[in-house]
Symmetry: C2
Subunit: 240 residues, 2 copies
């Protein structure tokens, strides 16, 4: 098994992802929100690049059972139904609904992964389920959304926990690239907590807009045993 | 004090380096070679981008006391005097000579740092001297050369050791960005050794071209108590 990590999107050659399984991580907050939404019965999530694309897609999907979700500079886009706070994605709000979602970094990472054989969505909230789901694959690339093309420690730690679990589960020692070695060392040295996330750039930015409590759900490891997968531009539950 | 790290060059906005001290790291092998050369009496090192630029500059500096050094794909450029193996830069070879140097990643990192107030060159070979030299500066940015725009664990670990020393030496707790926090955690979790470098992408590539023994010098911490600084496009010893 080969395991690679990309800490930032500019490092990625998207065509080199063909034939691999890509795990997209952006725990503050896009991938945590996606996990929450699917865990609470959302029928499918459609990541889009621009907010204009999101509005168009929601109209074509049928506005009556589609919610517009997402943020710019962390804050809910004007006219959208939901922002990007994991706690918003309750069963009441999203059960049975389609969600069109546009976020700053997370949806760009999902677009970058388009050529992979298999794309799964991972946050701290579901990392053991994701690690178990990809542990038999030949080549796993963990794609960190990063923060405006810069390294994000929350992404790196999440990637590191996945690497750690894959190494533990493997019969033969996997081949790790430099980033995967570093992410694993990070996971061995740091322990996830709300406080750790508060010291990250993404956590500080979240606190600055008054949403520090989002970090409670973002730092809650394995609260859901689900694996969101991307198929035909929609994210749904594996096996659903 | 603020401490930042860039793991790859595409993350860097060069204009944002104005007003800062930049520490360039590329221990396998460019910055180790620079440290060796200056420790052994080289009169100045002139990093250049292309090999053609290197040849032109050497001609204008005066070929009788100038050596052409550097690599492409790790191997000494044809017609050059020296490659990029730290062990080549002995007193016999480089004492009193000017060195024009072109390497794949290291010289690009030095060019990226051009707008900084102060640029110093760091390898494992001189990291305590560098940390001491920049410990009173307001903002220190450690610039990893990376490996063809990808994360390199040898660079990250070297950066982490510098961060660790700066944090230890500081009166007030420095403000670390995400990358600096991660590099420090890496330095706390990993111990430099030739074997660790052999597992890095740069180390494997060096071994593949038959130069694995270069990693002995590259992994020899604090073998020199010198601080190479960049002034007017030349690298010389601080205080020289």
């Amino acid at each position: 098994m080969k395991i690679g990590v990309h800490f930032t999107l500019p490092e990625v050659d998207p065509s080199a992802l063909a034939g691999t399984t890509v795990v997209v991580v952006d725990p503050i907050r896009a991938t945590t929100s996606i996990v929450e939404a699917l865990a609470h019965g959302a029928g499918g999530i459609y990541p889009t690049g621009s907010t204009e694309d999101a509005v168009r897609l929601a109209a074509s999907l049928g506005r009556e059972d589609t919610l517009l979700c997402g943020e710019r500079k962390g804050i809910k886009v004007e006219g959208f139904d939901l922002g990007n706070s994991p706690g918003e994605f309750t069963e009441e709000a999203v059960g049975g609904m389609k969600l069109v979602m546009s976020t700053t970094n997370g949806t760009r990472a999902l677009a970058t992964a388009a050529e992979a054989d298999r794309v799964v969505v991972c946050a701290f909230a579901n990392l053991s389920a994701v690690a178990a789901a990809v542990s038999a694959d030949d080549e796993v690339i963990i794609l960190c959304a990063g923060r405006e093309d810069r390294f994000a420690i929350d992404d790196a730690l999440c990637a590191g926990y996945v690497v750690q679990k894959l190494v533990e589960a493997a019969d033969e020692e996997p081949d790790l690239d430099d980033s995967a070695q570093a992410a694993k060392a990070l996971a061995e040295g740091l322990t996830l907590s709300r406080e750790l996330l508060e010291h990250s750039a993404a956590g500080r930015a979240t606190a600055e807009i008054g949403l520090a409590d989002d970090l409670d759900i973002c730092s809650d490891i394995d609260r859901h045993d689900i694996v969101p997968v991307v198929h035909d531009q929609a994210i749904t539950l594996a096996g659903a």
